[in-house]
């Protein structure tokens, strides 16, 4: 009873705060100073068609580095917590065989899904999408293949090598920006190129591809740790 009263009080205070916020909100009419700077100079300084990509990779590149690190730490802790007992005390569960149609379709569809993921993160500076979305699509391709073939498992060595190599190249590209450009992750290391084509915007396509590979490897790592525990009784 006492606990329920406390919960009600919390919800009411929160609702009151939200009501006050809603009454004072009257829809902003113009961009603020930072956003108008990005809108005015994004095309000429960075050369990227998609302004959100310009902010994520170049103007706020340091945030992205921290975010990828958080994802890496989460994947490492999950792998540590769900570690399977390798001593053989756990029996292997008797899994149901998947049907022939499902296996064939997964063999056809997985390369296409990888291709779509690569398309999404290579074209991140031209269209909506980028490294995080492409990495998620690659990880769902891996998950689909593991669902269709429950007896297989992913090689963790390959994933960790891929993940750490792309992370290292990401940091090295940032340091190259520090030396040849104006600061960490400055994209004017390579020439800006013609606006609106694939090979433009300096190093943004390169950086986004490596972010995509890193995120895809981390999410596949999480999924394969979760799939590993399905097998034991």
């Amino acid at each position: 009873m006492y606990k329920k009263l406390l919960v009600f009080a919390t919800i009411f205070i929160l609702a009151g705060i939200f009501l006050k916020l809603y009454q004072n909100f009257d829809g902003s009419k113009t961009l603020n100073k930072t956003a108008s700077y990005y809108a005015k100079n994004g095309a000429s300084e960075v050369g990227s068609t998609n302004i959100v990509t310009a902010i994520v990779v170049t103007y706020r590149g340091f945030d992205t580095l921290g975010e990828v690190t958080i994802l890496f730490v989460a994947a490492a802790i999950i792998g540590f917590f769900l570690k399977t007992n390798a001593k053989g005390t756990n029996r292997i569960r008797n899994l149901r065989f998947s049907s022939e149609i499902m296996i064939t379709a997964s063999k056809i569809l997985m390369p296409i899904m990888f291709l779509i993921g690569a398309y999404v993160f290579v074209n991140g500076h031209l269209s909506p999408g980028g490294g995080f979305q492409g990495g998620a699509i690659i990880a769902s391709g891996v998950a689909f293949f593991l669902l269709a073939n429950p007896t297989l498992s992913v090689n963790h060595k390959v994933l960790s090598v891929l993940e750490s190599t792309s992370g290292l190249i990401f940091v090295l590209l940032g340091i190259a920006g520090l030396i040849y450009g104006g600061g960490f992750l400055d994209n004017r290391v390579l020439p800006l190129g013609k606006f609106g084509t694939l090979f433009s915007a300096g190093i943004i396509p390169l950086v986004y591809s490596f972010i995509g590979l890193k995120v895809g490897a981390e999410l596949s790592n999480i999924i394969s740790s979760l799939q590993q525990i399905q097998k034991e009784e």
Partner: protein, 118 residues
């Protein structure tokens, strides 16, 4: 449009917090957390919306001149992009803790975990 997004986001946040304060099952509490996460993202995106403007992608030549008055605010969208990706990592982490707790005590009821209570 921005008012609709704002109201939806506020109600989602309140429902999520109500869910993880009242439910007894740990998985249901994690579901409540996920819902309030979505609600906060909806609020931030609806604040970035400006009337009669297009998305911040300059793929037409007429958008290159006087860009400031033609696109919506790109900064909150970049923030939300980051928040969603971190959200899935946090959710997976909480779920793996929940599975560990279940393997330890064979239950998911929050009332059975009193080890730190005094």
């Amino acid at each position: 449009m921005e008012y609709i997004g704002l109201i939806t986001g506020f109600i989602l946040v309140i429902l999520g917090i109500w869910g993880f304060l009242t439910q007894k099952n740990i998985l249901k509490m994690i579901i409540g957390f996920t819902i309030s996460d979505t609600g906060i993202n909806v609020i931030i995106v609806s604040i970035s919306y400006l009337k009669n403007r297009t998305a911040p992608i300059l793929n037409r030549p007429d958008l290159l001149t006087d860009t400031v008055n033609k696109i919506t605010d790109p900064v909150p969208q970049a923030l939300v992009l980051t928040a969603i990706v971190i959200g899935v990592g946090v959710t997976a982490l909480m779920l793996s803790y929940a599975l560990r707790l279940y393997q330890e005590k064979n239950t998911l009821d929050i009332n059975n975990f009193k080890d730190l209570k005094w």
